[in-house]
Protein backbone atom coordinates (compact mmCIF):
# COMPACT_ATOMS: atom_id res chain seq x y z
CA UNK A 1 0.00 0.00 0.00
CA UNK A 2 1.04 3.53 -0.67
CA UNK A 3 -0.10 6.89 0.64
CA UNK A 4 -1.18 9.48 -1.91
CA UNK A 5 -1.79 13.19 -1.45
CA UNK A 6 -4.80 14.54 -3.30
CA UNK A 7 -4.54 18.33 -3.52
CA UNK A 8 -7.52 20.29 -4.74
CA UNK A 9 -6.72 23.55 -6.50
CA UNK A 10 -9.14 26.41 -6.10
CA UNK A 11 -9.29 29.62 -8.11
CA UNK A 12 -8.65 32.96 -6.42
CA UNK A 13 -11.67 34.84 -5.14
CA UNK A 14 -14.67 34.10 -2.95
CA UNK A 15 -16.07 30.58 -2.69
CA UNK A 16 -19.39 29.88 -4.44
CA UNK A 17 -22.58 30.51 -2.49
CA UNK A 18 -24.35 27.93 -0.29
CA UNK A 19 -26.64 26.81 -3.13
CA UNK A 20 -23.53 25.36 -4.83
CA UNK A 21 -21.35 24.62 -1.79
CA UNK A 22 -24.02 22.56 0.02
CA UNK A 23 -24.19 20.08 -2.83
CA UNK A 24 -20.38 19.89 -3.06
CA UNK A 25 -19.99 19.36 0.71
CA UNK A 26 -22.61 16.60 0.72
CA UNK A 27 -20.82 14.86 -2.16
CA UNK A 28 -17.41 15.22 -0.48
CA UNK A 29 -18.89 13.87 2.77
CA UNK A 30 -20.20 10.81 0.92
CA UNK A 31 -16.77 10.22 -0.63
CA UNK A 32 -15.13 10.45 2.79
CA UNK A 33 -17.55 7.81 4.08
CA UNK A 34 -16.73 5.49 1.18
CA UNK A 35 -12.99 5.98 1.73
CA UNK A 36 -13.40 5.13 5.45
CA UNK A 37 -15.40 2.04 4.59
CA UNK A 38 -12.72 0.93 2.12
CA UNK A 39 -10.03 1.43 4.80
CA UNK A 40 -8.37 3.99 2.52
CA UNK A 41 -9.01 7.18 4.48
CA UNK A 42 -5.96 8.68 6.25
CA UNK A 43 -6.70 12.36 6.68
CA UNK A 44 -8.26 15.28 4.85
CA UNK A 45 -9.86 18.67 5.22
CA UNK A 46 -10.53 21.97 3.53
CA UNK A 47 -8.31 25.00 4.21
CA UNK A 48 -9.11 28.59 5.09
CA UNK A 49 -8.49 31.25 2.46
CA UNK A 50 -4.87 31.76 1.35
CA UNK A 51 -4.85 35.22 2.97
CA UNK A 52 -4.75 33.39 6.33
CA UNK A 53 -1.37 31.77 5.49
CA UNK A 54 1.99 32.76 7.00
CA UNK A 55 5.38 31.84 5.51
CA UNK A 56 8.60 31.33 7.52
CA UNK A 57 12.01 31.50 5.85
CA UNK A 58 15.30 30.67 7.57
CA UNK A 59 18.15 33.05 6.89
CA UNK A 60 21.19 31.90 8.86
CA UNK A 61 19.91 31.59 12.42
CA UNK A 62 17.16 34.10 11.86
CA UNK A 63 13.70 33.20 10.66
CA UNK A 64 11.82 35.80 8.68
CA UNK A 65 8.05 35.80 8.81
CA UNK A 66 5.84 37.05 5.96
CA UNK A 67 2.09 37.43 5.73
CA UNK A 68 0.34 35.59 2.93
CA UNK A 69 0.83 32.40 0.91
CA UNK A 70 4.19 30.99 -0.28
CA UNK A 71 3.41 31.70 -3.92
CA UNK A 72 0.90 34.28 -5.10
CA UNK A 73 -1.08 32.73 -7.87
CA UNK A 74 -4.43 32.53 -9.59
CA UNK A 75 -4.94 29.11 -8.01
CA UNK A 76 -4.03 27.76 -4.60
CA UNK A 77 -4.57 24.60 -2.59
CA UNK A 78 -8.09 24.73 -1.17
CA UNK A 79 -8.04 21.37 0.56
CA UNK A 80 -6.15 18.11 0.82
CA UNK A 81 -6.93 14.45 1.33
CA UNK A 82 -4.40 11.72 2.16
CA UNK A 83 -5.47 8.24 1.10
CA UNK A 84 -4.02 4.74 1.15
CA UNK A 85 -4.22 2.82 -2.12
CA UNK A 86 -2.75 -0.33 -3.65
CA UNK A 87 -1.49 1.48 -6.75
CA UNK A 88 -1.83 4.62 -8.83
CA UNK A 89 -4.89 3.37 -10.72
CA UNK A 90 -6.81 3.04 -7.46
CA UNK A 91 -5.60 6.46 -6.27
CA UNK A 92 -6.51 8.04 -9.63
CA UNK A 93 -10.03 6.62 -9.40
CA UNK A 94 -10.54 8.33 -6.01
CA UNK A 95 -8.96 11.49 -7.47
CA UNK A 96 -11.33 11.36 -10.43
CA UNK A 97 -14.30 11.22 -8.07
CA UNK A 98 -12.99 14.19 -6.05
CA UNK A 99 -12.56 16.17 -9.29
CA UNK A 100 -16.19 15.43 -10.23
CA UNK A 101 -17.50 16.16 -6.71
CA UNK A 102 -15.62 19.45 -6.19
CA UNK A 103 -15.35 20.54 -9.87
CA UNK A 104 -11.75 21.51 -8.97
CA UNK A 105 -8.52 20.23 -10.57
CA UNK A 106 -7.02 17.50 -8.37
CA UNK A 107 -3.30 16.67 -8.19
CA UNK A 108 -2.50 13.08 -7.17
CA UNK A 109 0.99 12.63 -5.79
CA UNK A 110 2.60 9.65 -4.03
CA UNK A 111 4.29 9.95 -0.66
CA UNK A 112 7.92 8.88 -0.63
CA UNK A 113 7.62 6.15 2.00
CA UNK A 114 5.81 2.86 1.39
CA UNK A 115 2.99 2.17 3.81
CA UNK A 116 3.47 -1.40 5.07
CA UNK A 117 0.36 -1.58 7.25
Amino acid sequence: MKNYLLSMYQPEGPAPGPEVMDGIMAEVGRLRGELREAGSWVFGDGLHDQATATVLRASGNEVVMTDGPFAEGKEHIGGIVVIRAADLDVALEWGRRYALATTLPVEVRPFAREDDG
Partner: protein, 384 residues
Protein backbone atom coordinates in the same frame (compact mmCIF):
# COMPACT_ATOMS: atom_id res chain seq x y z
CA UNK B 1 11.64 -8.64 -20.68
CA UNK B 2 7.97 -8.39 -19.75
CA UNK B 3 8.20 -11.52 -17.56
CA UNK B 4 11.17 -10.10 -15.68
CA UNK B 5 9.58 -6.72 -15.14
CA UNK B 6 6.74 -8.52 -13.38
CA UNK B 7 9.11 -10.66 -11.33
CA UNK B 8 11.42 -7.81 -10.41
CA UNK B 9 8.63 -5.30 -9.96
CA UNK B 10 11.07 -2.74 -11.33
CA UNK B 11 11.97 -1.92 -14.91
CA UNK B 12 15.59 -0.96 -14.21
CA UNK B 13 16.37 -4.12 -12.25
CA UNK B 14 14.78 -6.26 -14.95
CA UNK B 15 16.77 -4.55 -17.70
CA UNK B 16 19.99 -5.01 -15.79
CA UNK B 17 19.30 -8.69 -15.21
CA UNK B 18 18.54 -9.23 -18.90
CA UNK B 19 21.75 -7.51 -19.91
CA UNK B 20 23.70 -9.72 -17.51
CA UNK B 21 21.99 -12.81 -18.93
CA UNK B 22 22.91 -11.78 -22.48
CA UNK B 23 26.51 -11.25 -21.37
CA UNK B 24 26.62 -14.80 -19.96
CA UNK B 25 25.02 -16.12 -23.17
CA UNK B 26 27.58 -14.34 -25.36
CA UNK B 27 30.31 -16.08 -23.40
CA UNK B 28 28.75 -19.57 -23.08
CA UNK B 29 26.70 -20.22 -26.22
CA UNK B 30 29.64 -20.14 -28.67
CA UNK B 31 31.51 -22.54 -26.35
CA UNK B 32 28.73 -24.92 -25.20
CA UNK B 33 26.26 -24.51 -28.07
CA UNK B 34 22.91 -22.68 -28.10
CA UNK B 35 20.42 -24.17 -25.58
CA UNK B 36 17.24 -25.81 -26.96
CA UNK B 37 15.04 -22.93 -25.72
CA UNK B 38 17.14 -19.75 -25.96
CA UNK B 39 14.36 -17.43 -24.71
CA UNK B 40 13.62 -19.69 -21.75
CA UNK B 41 17.33 -19.97 -20.98
CA UNK B 42 17.69 -16.17 -20.96
CA UNK B 43 14.64 -15.72 -18.72
CA UNK B 44 15.86 -18.34 -16.26
CA UNK B 45 19.38 -16.90 -16.20
CA UNK B 46 18.08 -13.36 -15.75
CA UNK B 47 15.78 -14.55 -12.98
CA UNK B 48 18.72 -16.18 -11.22
CA UNK B 49 20.60 -12.89 -11.53
CA UNK B 50 17.65 -11.17 -9.84
CA UNK B 51 17.68 -13.76 -7.04
CA UNK B 52 21.44 -13.24 -6.59
CA UNK B 53 20.89 -9.52 -6.35
CA UNK B 54 18.14 -9.90 -3.77
CA UNK B 55 20.30 -12.24 -1.66
CA UNK B 56 22.89 -9.49 -1.56
CA UNK B 57 20.28 -7.12 -0.21
CA UNK B 58 19.67 -7.63 3.47
CA UNK B 59 16.41 -5.69 3.84
CA UNK B 60 13.03 -7.17 4.38
CA UNK B 61 11.80 -5.91 1.01
CA UNK B 62 14.63 -7.83 -0.62
CA UNK B 63 13.72 -11.05 1.16
CA UNK B 64 10.08 -10.66 0.22
CA UNK B 65 11.00 -10.19 -3.40
CA UNK B 66 13.22 -13.27 -3.20
CA UNK B 67 10.34 -15.34 -1.88
CA UNK B 68 8.24 -14.15 -4.78
CA UNK B 69 10.93 -15.06 -7.30
CA UNK B 70 11.52 -18.53 -5.87
CA UNK B 71 7.81 -19.04 -5.93
CA UNK B 72 7.68 -18.23 -9.64
CA UNK B 73 6.70 -21.11 -11.93
CA UNK B 74 9.24 -23.08 -13.91
CA UNK B 75 10.67 -22.32 -17.29
CA UNK B 76 8.03 -24.03 -19.44
CA UNK B 77 5.06 -22.48 -17.66
CA UNK B 78 6.82 -19.16 -17.79
CA UNK B 79 7.08 -19.01 -21.54
CA UNK B 80 3.34 -19.62 -21.61
CA UNK B 81 2.94 -16.57 -19.39
CA UNK B 82 4.81 -14.29 -21.76
CA UNK B 83 1.78 -12.96 -23.71
CA UNK B 84 -0.01 -11.79 -20.54
CA UNK B 85 3.13 -10.12 -19.26
CA UNK B 86 3.59 -8.32 -22.56
CA UNK B 87 0.04 -7.09 -22.47
CA UNK B 88 0.54 -5.77 -18.93
CA UNK B 89 3.73 -4.05 -20.04
CA UNK B 90 1.98 -2.39 -23.01
CA UNK B 91 -0.67 -0.94 -20.75
CA UNK B 92 1.95 0.23 -18.27
CA UNK B 93 4.08 1.91 -20.95
CA UNK B 94 1.00 3.64 -22.41
CA UNK B 95 -0.51 4.65 -19.06
CA UNK B 96 -2.34 7.97 -19.42
CA UNK B 97 -0.57 9.32 -16.29
CA UNK B 98 2.62 9.41 -18.43
CA UNK B 99 3.14 12.17 -20.98
CA UNK B 100 2.73 11.31 -24.64
CA UNK B 101 6.42 11.56 -25.55
CA UNK B 102 7.28 9.42 -22.50
CA UNK B 103 4.75 6.77 -23.55
CA UNK B 104 6.23 6.61 -27.04
CA UNK B 105 9.83 6.42 -25.82
CA UNK B 106 9.02 3.80 -23.20
CA UNK B 107 7.00 1.64 -25.62
CA UNK B 108 9.78 1.68 -28.22
CA UNK B 109 12.43 1.04 -25.58
CA UNK B 110 10.78 -1.77 -23.63
CA UNK B 111 8.48 -3.41 -26.21
CA UNK B 112 10.24 -2.47 -29.43
CA UNK B 113 13.70 -3.06 -28.02
CA UNK B 114 15.01 0.10 -29.74
CA UNK B 115 18.02 1.79 -28.16
CA UNK B 116 17.70 5.35 -26.88
CA UNK B 117 19.96 6.39 -29.79
CA UNK B 118 17.60 4.84 -32.35
CA UNK B 119 14.56 6.49 -30.74
CA UNK B 120 16.37 9.86 -30.65
CA UNK B 121 17.23 9.65 -34.37
CA UNK B 122 13.69 8.65 -35.28
CA UNK B 123 12.13 11.59 -33.45
CA UNK B 124 14.89 14.09 -34.26
CA UNK B 125 15.67 14.84 -30.62
CA UNK B 126 18.91 14.37 -28.70
CA UNK B 127 19.78 11.03 -27.17
CA UNK B 128 20.04 12.73 -23.78
CA UNK B 129 16.43 13.94 -24.13
CA UNK B 130 15.17 10.42 -24.85
CA UNK B 131 17.27 8.94 -22.05
CA UNK B 132 15.87 11.52 -19.64
CA UNK B 133 12.28 10.82 -20.75
CA UNK B 134 12.77 7.10 -20.21
CA UNK B 135 14.43 7.57 -16.81
CA UNK B 136 11.68 9.94 -15.65
CA UNK B 137 8.92 7.65 -16.88
CA UNK B 138 10.46 4.62 -15.16
CA UNK B 139 10.82 6.62 -11.94
CA UNK B 140 7.17 7.66 -12.11
CA UNK B 141 6.06 4.06 -12.74
CA UNK B 142 8.01 2.96 -9.70
CA UNK B 143 7.33 5.81 -7.26
CA UNK B 144 3.75 6.68 -8.17
CA UNK B 145 2.83 2.99 -8.27
CA UNK B 146 1.62 2.65 -11.87
CA UNK B 147 0.52 -1.00 -11.86
CA UNK B 148 1.54 -3.84 -14.22
CA UNK B 149 -1.98 -4.80 -14.97
CA UNK B 150 -4.44 -5.07 -17.82
CA UNK B 151 -7.15 -2.52 -16.91
CA UNK B 152 -10.58 -3.64 -15.73
CA UNK B 153 -13.35 -3.96 -18.33
CA UNK B 154 -14.76 -0.60 -17.24
CA UNK B 155 -11.48 1.22 -17.88
CA UNK B 156 -10.44 -0.83 -20.92
CA UNK B 157 -11.94 1.26 -23.75
CA UNK B 158 -10.20 4.46 -22.61
CA UNK B 159 -6.93 2.78 -21.75
CA UNK B 160 -6.87 0.78 -24.98
CA UNK B 161 -7.40 4.06 -26.82
CA UNK B 162 -4.17 5.35 -25.32
CA UNK B 163 -2.27 2.22 -26.42
CA UNK B 164 -3.63 2.43 -29.97
CA UNK B 165 -2.83 6.14 -30.16
CA UNK B 166 0.80 5.49 -29.15
CA UNK B 167 1.22 2.79 -31.80
CA UNK B 168 -0.40 4.97 -34.50
CA UNK B 169 1.76 7.96 -33.52
CA UNK B 170 4.86 5.79 -33.97
CA UNK B 171 3.56 4.68 -37.36
CA UNK B 172 2.79 8.24 -38.48
CA UNK B 173 6.18 9.48 -37.36
CA UNK B 174 7.69 6.99 -39.79
CA UNK B 175 5.10 7.43 -42.54
CA UNK B 176 4.86 11.22 -42.65
CA UNK B 177 8.60 11.77 -42.77
CA UNK B 178 8.41 10.81 -46.46
CA UNK B 179 12.14 11.39 -46.75
CA UNK B 180 13.06 7.76 -47.32
CA UNK B 181 15.31 7.89 -44.28
CA UNK B 182 15.79 4.21 -43.42
CA UNK B 183 15.56 4.71 -39.64
CA UNK B 184 12.13 6.33 -39.97
CA UNK B 185 10.95 3.61 -42.34
CA UNK B 186 11.85 1.19 -39.56
CA UNK B 187 9.39 3.05 -37.33
CA UNK B 188 6.50 2.00 -39.60
CA UNK B 189 7.66 -1.60 -39.44
CA UNK B 190 8.03 -1.34 -35.66
CA UNK B 191 4.51 0.10 -35.27
CA UNK B 192 3.14 -2.74 -37.42
CA UNK B 193 5.04 -5.27 -35.31
CA UNK B 194 3.49 -3.76 -32.16
CA UNK B 195 0.08 -3.76 -33.88
CA UNK B 196 0.46 -7.45 -34.73
CA UNK B 197 1.56 -8.20 -31.17
CA UNK B 198 -1.50 -6.42 -29.76
CA UNK B 199 -3.83 -8.08 -32.30
CA UNK B 200 -2.47 -11.46 -31.21
CA UNK B 201 -3.05 -10.60 -27.55
CA UNK B 202 -6.48 -8.99 -27.95
CA UNK B 203 -8.00 -10.69 -31.02
CA UNK B 204 -11.55 -9.80 -29.91
CA UNK B 205 -11.05 -6.03 -29.90
CA UNK B 206 -12.16 -4.77 -33.33
CA UNK B 207 -10.35 -1.43 -33.00
CA UNK B 208 -7.06 -3.30 -32.44
CA UNK B 209 -7.64 -5.20 -35.70
CA UNK B 210 -8.76 -1.96 -37.34
CA UNK B 211 -5.54 -0.16 -36.45
CA UNK B 212 -3.43 -3.07 -37.72
CA UNK B 213 -5.40 -3.18 -40.98
CA UNK B 214 -5.08 0.60 -41.39
CA UNK B 215 -1.28 0.47 -40.96
CA UNK B 216 -0.89 -2.54 -43.29
CA UNK B 217 -2.95 -0.90 -46.05
CA UNK B 218 -1.11 2.42 -45.83
CA UNK B 219 2.25 0.65 -45.65
CA UNK B 220 1.39 -1.47 -48.72
CA UNK B 221 1.71 1.70 -50.85
CA UNK B 222 5.09 2.63 -49.42
CA UNK B 223 7.15 1.81 -52.54
CA UNK B 224 4.82 3.77 -54.84
CA UNK B 225 4.43 6.76 -52.56
CA UNK B 226 7.94 8.18 -52.74
CA UNK B 227 10.10 8.43 -55.87
CA UNK B 228 13.78 7.50 -55.92
CA UNK B 229 14.45 11.22 -55.66
CA UNK B 230 12.40 11.46 -52.47
CA UNK B 231 9.33 13.28 -53.91
CA UNK B 232 5.83 12.37 -52.79
CA UNK B 233 3.51 10.74 -55.34
CA UNK B 234 -0.20 11.41 -54.76
CA UNK B 235 -2.48 8.38 -54.50
CA UNK B 236 -4.12 8.97 -57.91
CA UNK B 237 -0.71 9.11 -59.65
CA UNK B 238 0.87 6.09 -57.96
CA UNK B 239 2.14 3.09 -59.92
CA UNK B 240 -0.18 0.43 -58.54
CA UNK B 241 2.11 -2.39 -59.64
CA UNK B 242 4.46 -1.26 -56.85
CA UNK B 243 1.85 -1.86 -54.17
CA UNK B 244 2.47 -4.80 -51.87
CA UNK B 245 -0.37 -7.24 -52.71
CA UNK B 246 0.28 -9.43 -49.65
CA UNK B 247 -0.10 -6.53 -47.23
CA UNK B 248 -3.26 -5.40 -49.05
CA UNK B 249 -4.76 -8.90 -48.88
CA UNK B 250 -3.95 -9.15 -45.17
CA UNK B 251 -5.34 -5.66 -44.47
CA UNK B 252 -8.53 -6.28 -46.45
CA UNK B 253 -9.12 -9.61 -44.71
CA UNK B 254 -8.82 -7.83 -41.34
CA UNK B 255 -11.32 -5.20 -42.50
CA UNK B 256 -13.75 -7.98 -43.47
CA UNK B 257 -13.30 -9.54 -40.01
CA UNK B 258 -14.10 -6.15 -38.45
CA UNK B 259 -17.22 -5.76 -40.60
CA UNK B 260 -18.47 -9.15 -39.41
CA UNK B 261 -18.04 -7.99 -35.79
CA UNK B 262 -20.11 -4.87 -36.54
CA UNK B 263 -18.70 -2.78 -33.69
CA UNK B 264 -17.28 0.10 -35.77
CA UNK B 265 -14.73 2.60 -34.51
CA UNK B 266 -12.54 5.32 -36.02
CA UNK B 267 -9.57 3.02 -36.82
CA UNK B 268 -11.79 0.41 -38.47
CA UNK B 269 -13.47 3.02 -40.64
CA UNK B 270 -10.17 4.55 -41.70
CA UNK B 271 -8.96 1.02 -42.52
CA UNK B 272 -12.12 0.42 -44.57
CA UNK B 273 -11.51 3.65 -46.49
CA UNK B 274 -7.97 2.53 -47.26
CA UNK B 275 -9.26 -0.90 -48.26
CA UNK B 276 -11.53 0.81 -50.85
CA UNK B 277 -8.53 2.79 -52.13
CA UNK B 278 -6.61 -0.47 -52.56
CA UNK B 279 -9.06 -1.62 -55.26
CA UNK B 280 -8.88 0.03 -58.69
CA UNK B 281 -10.72 2.16 -59.60
CA UNK B 282 -11.57 3.78 -56.24
CA UNK B 283 -15.28 3.67 -55.45
CA UNK B 284 -15.58 7.29 -54.25
CA UNK B 285 -19.26 7.00 -53.35
CA UNK B 286 -18.38 4.28 -50.88
CA UNK B 287 -15.52 6.41 -49.53
CA UNK B 288 -17.95 9.29 -48.91
CA UNK B 289 -20.35 6.92 -47.13
CA UNK B 290 -17.50 5.69 -44.91
CA UNK B 291 -16.46 9.27 -44.10
CA UNK B 292 -20.10 9.98 -43.15
CA UNK B 293 -19.83 7.21 -40.55
CA UNK B 294 -16.40 8.42 -39.46
CA UNK B 295 -17.75 11.94 -38.99
CA UNK B 296 -20.64 10.56 -36.91
CA UNK B 297 -18.17 8.77 -34.61
CA UNK B 298 -15.50 11.49 -34.56
CA UNK B 299 -17.05 14.85 -35.47
CA UNK B 300 -13.77 16.76 -35.91
CA UNK B 301 -12.85 19.37 -38.56
CA UNK B 302 -9.98 17.15 -39.81
CA UNK B 303 -12.40 14.30 -40.61
CA UNK B 304 -14.73 16.80 -42.29
CA UNK B 305 -11.78 17.99 -44.40
CA UNK B 306 -11.01 14.46 -45.58
CA UNK B 307 -14.67 13.87 -46.31
CA UNK B 308 -14.69 17.01 -48.50
CA UNK B 309 -11.84 15.54 -50.59
CA UNK B 310 -13.97 12.47 -51.30
CA UNK B 311 -17.07 14.60 -52.00
CA UNK B 312 -15.06 16.50 -54.65
CA UNK B 313 -14.63 13.20 -56.55
CA UNK B 314 -18.35 12.43 -56.44
CA UNK B 315 -20.12 15.82 -56.63
CA UNK B 316 -17.32 17.99 -58.05
CA UNK B 317 -14.91 20.58 -56.58
CA UNK B 318 -17.55 23.29 -56.19
CA UNK B 319 -19.66 21.21 -53.76
CA UNK B 320 -16.52 20.27 -51.82
CA UNK B 321 -15.34 23.88 -51.56
CA UNK B 322 -18.63 24.82 -49.87
CA UNK B 323 -17.97 22.15 -47.21
CA UNK B 324 -14.65 23.75 -46.28
CA UNK B 325 -16.26 27.04 -45.23
CA UNK B 326 -16.50 27.28 -41.50
CA UNK B 327 -13.92 24.56 -40.73
CA UNK B 328 -11.65 25.92 -38.03
CA UNK B 329 -8.38 24.66 -39.54
CA UNK B 330 -6.49 27.81 -40.48
CA UNK B 331 -3.26 26.54 -38.87
CA UNK B 332 -3.44 23.21 -40.71
CA UNK B 333 -1.44 23.07 -43.96
CA UNK B 334 -3.62 20.29 -45.39
CA UNK B 335 -6.72 22.53 -45.15
CA UNK B 336 -5.05 25.14 -47.36
CA UNK B 337 -3.63 22.50 -49.71
CA UNK B 338 -7.06 20.91 -50.24
CA UNK B 339 -8.65 24.35 -50.74
CA UNK B 340 -5.93 25.31 -53.22
CA UNK B 341 -6.48 22.11 -55.17
CA UNK B 342 -10.25 22.64 -55.40
CA UNK B 343 -9.78 26.30 -56.48
CA UNK B 344 -7.26 25.19 -59.11
CA UNK B 345 -9.71 22.64 -60.49
CA UNK B 346 -12.39 25.36 -60.65
CA UNK B 347 -10.00 27.57 -62.64
CA UNK B 348 -9.80 30.19 -59.86
CA UNK B 349 -6.02 30.50 -60.24
CA UNK B 350 -5.39 33.69 -58.26
CA UNK B 351 -7.16 32.33 -55.18
CA UNK B 352 -5.48 28.95 -55.68
CA UNK B 353 -2.00 30.54 -55.68
CA UNK B 354 -2.78 32.34 -52.42
CA UNK B 355 -4.04 29.09 -50.85
CA UNK B 356 -0.93 27.12 -51.97
CA UNK B 357 1.21 29.83 -50.42
CA UNK B 358 -0.78 29.55 -47.18
CA UNK B 359 -0.20 25.79 -47.19
CA UNK B 360 3.54 26.21 -47.85
CA UNK B 361 3.83 28.59 -44.91
CA UNK B 362 2.42 25.90 -42.61
CA UNK B 363 4.50 22.76 -43.30
CA UNK B 364 8.16 21.94 -42.83
CA UNK B 365 8.01 18.49 -44.38
CA UNK B 366 10.33 18.65 -47.44
CA UNK B 367 8.38 16.12 -49.54
CA UNK B 368 5.07 17.87 -48.95
CA UNK B 369 6.63 21.27 -49.68
CA UNK B 370 7.94 19.92 -52.95
CA UNK B 371 4.46 18.81 -54.09
CA UNK B 372 3.02 22.23 -53.18
CA UNK B 373 5.82 24.10 -54.99
CA UNK B 374 5.27 21.98 -58.10
CA UNK B 375 1.56 22.90 -58.14
CA UNK B 376 2.39 26.57 -57.64
CA UNK B 377 4.88 26.52 -60.51
CA UNK B 378 2.27 24.90 -62.79
CA UNK B 379 -0.27 27.61 -61.93
CA UNK B 380 2.18 30.40 -62.59
CA UNK B 381 3.14 29.09 -66.04
CA UNK B 382 -0.32 28.43 -67.57
CA UNK B 383 1.07 26.95 -70.80
CA UNK B 384 1.76 23.62 -68.98
Amino acid sequence: MAVLVRLAGDVDLAEEAVQEAFAVAAERWPRDGTPPSPAGWLITTARNKLIDRNRREAGRAGRQAEALLLYAPGEAAEEGAVPDDRLRLIFTCCHPALGESARIALTLRLLGGLTTGEIARAFLVSEATVAQRVVRAKAKIKHAGIPYRVPSDADLPGRLGSVLAVIYLIFNEGYLSGSGDPVRDDLCAEAIRLGRLLAGLMPDEPEVLGLLALMLLIHSRRAARVTAGGSLVLLADQDRSLWDRDLIAEGQELVRRCLRRDRPGPYQIQAAINAVHSDAPTDWRQVVRLYDRHLALAPTPVVALHRAVAVAEVDGPSAALGLLDGLDLDGHHLFHAVRADLLRRLGRSVEAVAAYENALARTENPAEREVLRRRLAELRSPET
